[in-house]
Symmetry: C2
Subunit: 337 residues, 2 copies
């Protein structure tokens, strides 16, 4: 069976099986936004994550400057630390690059990565460079810390909780569509900027962790439906999303109208919004919304609920429903480049 | 300027410049075997390293089983933790793999990596899988711990110290030559096994750190000359190697004779021996040699000295000398596949 037929999920299930239950210093292994390690000091835990982007698959050279390529790779990886409520501490960068690549260009990629890391308190602390005849690829490792036992885990959702999302959805996918078809308009430019420069929600992640009302979170990289599916799977719950409540980005709506596309599809399955999807005690929702607006300048929207059961369920405004488990980003079956 | 003309060293110098002096939690950044981070607990420090291998560049599919590909990538990365005197705690694996790859084969690679990590106390704790049309590539992240302030740094060598190496040299390069030309003999089989299955010297690294007599070490991945050059550069010293004292592997000698090759060249520039090269107080050398033999079953050989100055200097048995700075493995100018 080829990976493109089996799909990423089946492969990861097998990898997880092969890895077995982690022990020793590893408190959380495969299946969450980052790994969680116990250091000798008992108060703080180490978060570890790697995130890879490949030319043609995740970006095109003609769409981004070298500095943007490096910065984007780092910002994506930092988003996973945000989803754990952590504080980033350092990045490593592995660069797979052709020996025919220009020295200045390769340096600009690394410098862009270093600058993005420094901006968020995570200096470039090492890495690896390997010559390859394949496409340009960046693998960013990010290490961070979080107080022991209070990480925002994918497995923390419980029936009865509310489901919330930060910011607005669909702009990144809309920007990608604009890049593909060359659409140029103010909304297109804003959407493209969003696609090029993800915003890791680190301040929000820390705020949510410190609130004590939130125990489960994930960042939206694969698309809302698929990422909600990860939350549901890891927590052993059912996640119900109210389609009418989704905070669609105005730029996403405008671009979709210009292109005759579906803004809802971009919001549900487009991916790369890098907002946080999380669950919270229902009674704490108004206070969280007010606090996020005041302290981190971000809107939070209640978009659904956690119930008993399995999988993801989307309630449509017309009273219909769908259980769209196969939508969203899959490394092996999609081609985003 | 293309990378293949500029060389890896020049590129890394520029990356280091772009990264700037690390701050915050990062105590040691680019330039050592691993990054060193300070956690909240003050007694222990976090070591972080990533190590990438690419099909055609670092291995060929026809030479290794899938499990061997995964295990080899992990064992290489663990060697860097050994070179810091650390204890490995976890690995992450990024796999860049074609969507046309067989699911069982891809799983076997990850399972081989997981098993190798577990063998050395570092469970597979996460990772990333990305579809690519390029060659198969593995990037292994390894995290470990070491007592604060006692890591074996590349920058710790001081004039007056002795230079030592563990084990025997050249077998891995000899094994690679056997794979390339199809040589089959007992010595060839042993050399090939060594090439396929690097041995991270973790117990030795910890012993050296605990001895208090050793403050500088590096693992031999790029070749003795090049790695000695890294030690010399980072410490700001000159390293003098006595060619006649080099512990050439008997298998390396035998294969070289059969192939009409130079065993000395393999020992000096072949790379991938994954032995430890380190410096020690001269008066502690006999005790270290005895202890390594007794406690970790490894021979140590005094092969030279640290003096004032710069660079690497090799004294030849005929009284001549060479300063072979450009030899060894370079990611952009060599092709090992």
């Amino acid at each position: 069976v080829r990976l493109r037929e089996a799909g990423e999920g089946e492969f990861l299930r097998r990898v997880r099986e092969a890895a077995g239950r982690p022990g020793g210093s590893v408190l959380v292994g495969i299946g969450d936004d980052t790994a969680v390690l116990q250091g000798q000091g008992r108060e703080e835990r180490l978060l570890l994550k790697c995130d890879a982007t490949v030319e043609g698959q995740h970006f095109r050279r003609e769409w981004l400057t070298e500095a943007e390529i490096g910065a984007r790779a780092v910002r994506r990886a930092l988003s996973d630390i945000a989803a754990m409520g952590g504080r980033p501490a350092a990045i490593l960068l592995t660069l797979l690059v052709s020996p025919d690549e220009d020295l200045e260009a390769a340096t600009a990629i690394a410098a862009g990565a270093a600058a993005a890391g420094t901006e968020f308190g995570a200096p470039l602390a090492g890495g690896e460079t390997v010559g390859t005849e394949g496409p340009l690829a960046l693998d960013v490792v990010v290490a961070g810390f979080a107080p022991a036992g209070r990480e925002l885990r994918r497995s923390g959702a419980r029936p009865g909780e509310a489901l919330l999302v930060s910011g607005a959805l669909g702009a990144s996918a809309a920007g990608l569509a604009c890049l593909r078809c060359g659409l140029s308009a103010p909304a297109a430019h804003r959407a493209i900027a969003r696609s090029k420069r993800p915003e890791p929600r680190l301040a929000l992640g820390r705020m949510l962790r410190e609130s004590g009302a939130v125990r489960a979170a994930i960042d939206l990289s694969d698309g809302l439906l698929r990422d909600a599916g990860h939350l549901a799977d890891e927590s052993g719950v059912r996640i119900e999303i109210d389609e009418a409540r989704l905070p669609l980005s105005p730029d996403c709506r405008e671009v979709a109208e210009a292109l005759g596309a579906s803004p809802l599809h971009w919001a549900l399955a487009g991916g790369e919004d890098y907002e946080l999807l999380f669950t919270a005690d229902a009674e704490s929702v108004p206070a969280l919304i007010a606090q996020a607006d005041r302290e981190v300048g971000l809107s939070l929207t209640r978009i659904g609920a956690v119930t008993q059961g399995r999988g993801v369920f989307v309630a449509r405004p017309d009273g219909g429903a769908r259980t769209p488990t196969a939508e969203g980003w899959d490394q092996f079956t999609h081609d985003q480049g």
